[in-house]
Amino acid sequence: MLNIYFGDTDDVIYNTAVYFKNTYNEKWLTKELTKQMILDVDKSEVVSEKVINSPVLGMISPEQLSGGVKTLMLVAYDKKHVFNASTCGDNCAKWLLKIAENEKREINLRHIMNFGDGEFKIRVLNTNRIVHNMKELILEAGRYV
């Protein structure tokens, strides 16, 4: 399940782009989950561990991917740290839920991300309550951001 701490805290990796640049593993790029996330969020295709084909920028390196996709990879593959997921747009929300579908993941949000119109299960760590839709999420977490 996705666990979210809302609001300011020091115990997170805040600048996920810099952290990604210095720590990412090239093998992450060719995982099926990564390919799907990059195609969906950045509309780009993974060519190899080092090259991604972007419709706007042409052939780019993993470091030139969007901040959102980099953070998604960190959340998916670096389980030791908690990341500032306010570097992700709303189009990353479904992927955060998918990454945390079968195992616990913790992220930090400094804004209310839109997880869509459907039902979901998210634990708001500030109150330790589980919310099931956006109305509940806003009412539970809105005061912390």
Binding site: L57, G68, C88, N91, H111
Partner: protein
């Protein structure tokens, strides 16, 4: 600081055209829409000017602010357009808010977190809209407010 400022910046691959009106402009929206690309273009132009290969048209000086020594950089910036990318904690600090209040610069902030210290208007929150190679700023629809209003 008065009036609208038009900015046009391009390289061979993409072009951004937008206008800012108030001293603080927030740019949010989905990932992958070009916020960091725009910031990097401004940053390269700030460092290398025409030698960057980037073409920038703006009546004011444009600056990409970096986290290192940001206070000193802002002291030097007068009557400029200052761009700040996400990932810099100082943006939510009181020190930064105080400097902005006493400044004659325009600020374009690429940040999603709520900045309680800054006096920005909800009407000045934009997202990047793309049509072909050209990227523009478009006022962001507040989907959350609509969703909450409909569900309460």
């Amino acid at each position: 600081m008065k009036g609208k400022v038009q900015i046009k910046i391009k390289n061979r691959k993409c072009q951004f055209e937008f206008e800012i009106e108030r001293n603080i402009t927030i740019v949010r929206g989905d990932s992958g829409t070009g916020k960091t690309t725009l910031f990097n273009m401004i940053s390269e132009y700030t460092r290398l000017k025409e030698e960057s290969g980037i073409n920038l048209q703006c009546s004011k000086k444009c600056i990409a602010l970096t986290a290192i020594d940001w206070e000193h950089q802002l002291e030097q910036a007068k009557d400029s357009v200052v761009f700040i990318d996400e990932g810099d904690r100082f943006v939510s600090s009181k020190d930064f808010a105080n400097i902005i209040r006493n400044s004659d610069n325009y600020y374009v902030l690429f940040v999603r977190e709520n900045l309680h210290e800054l006096p920005y208007s909800v009407n000045e929150i934009y997202e990047i809209h793309t049509s072909g190679k050209i990227h523009t700023f478009k006022i962001m629809q507040d989907r959350l407010r609509r969703l909450l209003c409909c569900s309460l």
